[in-house]
Assembly symmetry: C2
Amino acid sequence: MTKHIPNLQVALDHSDLKGAIKAAVAVGAEVDIIEAGTVCLLQVGSELVEVLRNLFPDKIIVADTKCADAGGTIAKNNAVRGADWMTCICSATIPTMSAALKAIQEVNGDKGEIQIELYGDWTYDQAQLWLDAGISQAIYHQSRDALLAGETWGEKDLNKVKKLIDMGFRVSVTGGLDVDTLKLFEGVDVYTFIAGRGITEAENPAQAAREFKDEIRRIWG
Amino acid sequence: MTKHIPNLQVALDHSDLKGAIKAAVAVGAEVDIIEAGTVCLLQVGSELVEVLRNLFPDKIIVADTKCADAGGTIAKNNAVRGADWMTCICSATIPTMSAALKAIQEVNGDKGEIQIELYGDWTYDQAQLWLDAGISQAIYHQSRDALLAGETWGEKDLNKVKKLIDMGFRVSVTGGLDVDTLKLFEGVDVYTFIAGRGITEAENPAQAAREFKDEIRRIWG
């Protein structure tokens, strides 16, 4: 197995299209994956995906829909506007996830992927069903609201991430990440680090993205 | 306790604003609650909520965001555009749900409510935490994709609905409902029946809504 250097993904979680686009233009070239965030999708719709696709034809674009139902419709709606990947919430049913996967691959071929967003209580038995359904990306989250309530990354989180990786998932991690917290994950084969405000609200967002990339290369390179 | 006659809610799950508005205009006056559906919100954003609010100043408008995170931001974004209620997915954390409730009540006062969308595996222990957090509406779902895969309403579903009602929830039910399936719920104190295509795709949507209301009154009136 060749060593994987974790991707860097920027989440655009603005409540307005202009803010999201401004941030995307500032940092898009520095990152591997650009995420149309849930807050922004719910505010402005999938036009955001289309704008990002046009601005960054060669980047991976993720629509963070956290889809819970109507997987086929929502995946198609986003795929035709340029999303390579889309997220489903872990409490969605397997038929929803499968319908989403089928729809996104109808537009994107094998490059189309569904990522499962892990929130609340889920089990490894459920996770195995996602793998069985052909879904091998998961996103391990520290909820923004949980972080605001004082929770943070700990050994328990890292062990869950490791177990998912051992099961065969490519795991993204997100929630309250900054350059200094990356080293908490040293030795863990993280697939992608997702940062939002840690990059987009920095004084110099492009430089903040480069600092993330430098630290990722220092640890995993 | 005065007897409650279940509400009728229409879900606008169109992929385009025009289709959603056309359906809203056709049936809005006939129903109690108008839902800005997830599919449409993700396609066109919260402008949908604003249009519905302007069209129907006296109806309850629900933003079916199925919010999983950033509850405060998403609730505020929808409340300021006119949503009375908003949904959170059951796998959201309690801090997310609480932040959403606080934000929607900051705009709407006590009239602002959060509804928990029940998907996948949830527990009554979790449900008690929602009640403890001041959230007393839940939506029991048959997933559209699960219905397409051949599942339907059964005794197991009804017992879960009854148990939630016994706990103190006002429970909405949705998923594959038509006028003929309402009688399955006879004897159950359902708070709201939610129908989408069963109304909006009918040859005469307003008449379809009236038939739902007539059957509800026949059974619960």
